[in-house]
């Protein structure tokens, strides 16, 4: 059975409802617990799942018309590979979307992608406007989250209004 786990995977499909984000977290964490991840690693993975699935819930589909979100977790070469996919409106400019503090919704922090990057070892975003978004992530057993998220963010938080709708020139990621 242990040998089989090397090629193990799960696919979870669910409608993009906020109430399902927790289900996705729990399912992926239960699956990932098969590898020798520490409790901290599993928390990192939950956070990354939460951010990616929340994005599909909040940004991909028109409000009130949730489409399907597909989550795939696989054990590949002792690493967890995670894919979160939607068939929603897509992202016009992925580089801009990934920048710290960038959000197209007024009450969001624009920290989702930054958190995924901070807590996972690899984050790739593929998106086509009108067709959907696929976020692919990897987590190695024993990898540490990267230091802190960039400094700029605190500055934005401290401001009275919502975060900037557009990135500043010094907002690098």
């Amino acid at each position: 059975m242990t040998a089989g786990q090397a090629n193990n995977w799960i696919i979870l499909e669910l409608p993009g409802l906020a109430t399902n984000v927790g289900v996705a977290r729990v399912a992926v964490a239960a699956f990932a617990a098969q590898l020798e991840f520490t409790l901290n690693d599993l928390e990192d993975i939950k956070l990354a799942v939460s951010e990616a699935v929340s994005n599909a819930v909040l940004h991909a589909y028109p409000p009130g018309e949730p489409g399907t979100v597909r989550i795939r977790a696989a054990l590949v070469d002792g690493e967890l590979e995670l894919t979160v996919e939607d068939r929603g409106r897509g992202i016009d400019d992925v580089d801009r979307a990934r920048q710290t503090g960038f959000s197209t919704l007024p009450d969001r922090m624009g920290m989702g992608f930054v958190f995924m990057e901070a807590f996972m070892d690899l984050v790739e975003v593929a998106s086509r406007p009108g067709e959907g978004t696929t976020v692919r992530m990897r987590k190695r057993v024993g990898s540490e989250p990267r230091a802190e998220v960039p400094d700029q963010v605190q500055w934005d938080f401290a401001g009275a209004g919502p975060g900037p709708a557009h990135p500043r020139p010094d907002d690098s990621d």
Binding site: A18, T19, L47, E148
Partner: protein, 116 residues
Amino acid sequence: MEISFERRPGVVVARIAGELDCYTAPTLREVLDRELDASGAASLVLNLRDASFIDSSGLGAILGRYRRLAPGGGRVAVCEAQPSVRRVLELAGIPRIIPLYPSEEQALEAQKAVGT
């Protein structure tokens, strides 16, 4: 998610249990604002002892209260956060604007120190 409140002079203490994510954040936001309005308190202490998870949506709800209270000189503090939750707060650099305290008492003491 479940929230209970205690009103102290000038401070609302909110004890939050459960997961703070995009499902619960809108409720959290609304319930905190309602209590802040009703109490007229300038400051907020969030006791996260029973909060088992937080992501950027949950952080957004907390930082939103900071943005609301800061202009009037009010403060926001977090206390008793579990290691996994504290880890997310720290990695996001939250303590630089919202201090974390190990106990509710210490958080309340610190509020007093500034006066309300």
